[in-house]
Subunit: 206 residues, 2 copies
């Protein structure tokens, strides 16, 4: 692509560094900004700049927060001895939107993935182990992706705290609500049979 303007070329290049945004899409987005009132670009630029320079990570759960301690961690109405281990803040938002969980979170910031060069030391694992070691955690809920990397991370953490007095659970894997059985893959279906639950529990579920 040849550009008539260095400024335009530069803006398109920087935009195309975002994941899933190619050169053509980047050009479309930048041209859109040029057609809109200048205020829109100003707002975008300010929002991104301020976010990146002043954003904090909660000192307890490592989630994104405006304060040193996030709203969830500082909410005393939530049970302080249950910790749900998630990959990133999107998972916190997803679980929060269900309205079914009233404990705290711990954001790892990723999962162990040797192929991507992510080891345990790159994640917020040591602070989690510390929390458990302090003895104030009654239950740890693993809520990572059901992938090889997620399972590896679960297992790594499990090995680190094995023997400590803490209940460790993982979110249920099974058939999605509204899914037809015939379209479910066999691993999921198999697990859902092995880990079947009393029908009374299912009746009580939302």
């Amino acid at each position: 692509m040849e550009f008539s303007s260095k400024l335009l070329e530069n803006a398109v290049y920087e935009m195309s560094q975002l994941p899933g945004i190619g050169k053509r899409t980047a050009l479309r987005l930048v041209l859109h900004l040029l057609r809109q009132p200048k205020a829109q670009t100003d707002h975008l630029v300010t929002a991104l700049g301020t976010l990146r320079s002043t954003i904090k990570f909660c000192k307890k759960c490592h989630s994104i927060s405006d304060e040193d301690i996030c709203d969830i961690c500082s909410n005393l109405n939530r049970s302080q001895d249950t910790i749900c281990v998630v990959e990133d803040i999107r998972d916190v938002m997803a679980i929060e939107s269900t309205g079914q969980y009233r404990g705290l979170y711990h954001v790892l910031g990723g999962k162990i993935s040797p192929l991507d060069g992510v080891g345990p030391q790159d994640l917020n694992i040591s602070s989690l182990i510390e929390k458990v070691n302090e003895g104030q955690v009654k239950e740890l809920i693993f809520a990572l992706s059901a992938t090889m990397e997620g399972d590896t991370t679960n297992f790594y953490i499990y090995k680190q705290i094995e023997g400590l007095k803490v209940k460790i659970s993982t979110i249920a894997r099974g058939i999605s609500v509204n899914d037809e059985l015939e379209y479910a893959d066999e691993v999921t279906l198999g697990r859902s049979i092995v880990n079947r639950i009393p029908f009374e529990n299912a009746l009580k579920s939302p």
Copy 2:
């Protein structure tokens, strides 16, 4: 979607104002920036900010340019009496990349579209008519989209300069190179038969 941080919410909102970017994609992009070194966000913010505040539009062809007159308009090796009328700078880039055109351009900045509230006065049409009226234009090539709006815009300009001594042509509509006849729509196929060209011309084409 509930956000744990106002700053994050604001950044996601501004990002989702871009065309084709929903809230979820915006969140993914913003979280990506947070994971990357701060320099990447700085570069993006500076590039967009500088572009929007210092970009110029060529005074002759209205294309995006770093100078008052763009490189194409100031290139005396290009034939100054042929003007290709296009919608926006992306079309200029597309035509330039073919290497087949050595004239000048005129960027309208859109096409007449009553449904979107875009009338002739919103486009760079009057300056085009002026150029033609000055009598230095020998040929005007319409290269707008082959849509209702494109055709309307073509016809509007045509009506304004009807009777003036200028050759008016439009880019050929026909079967795309490498396309199978059976998959072509009937309007395109019909036009390509009506506007058939001497085989010798096709032989000479690139």
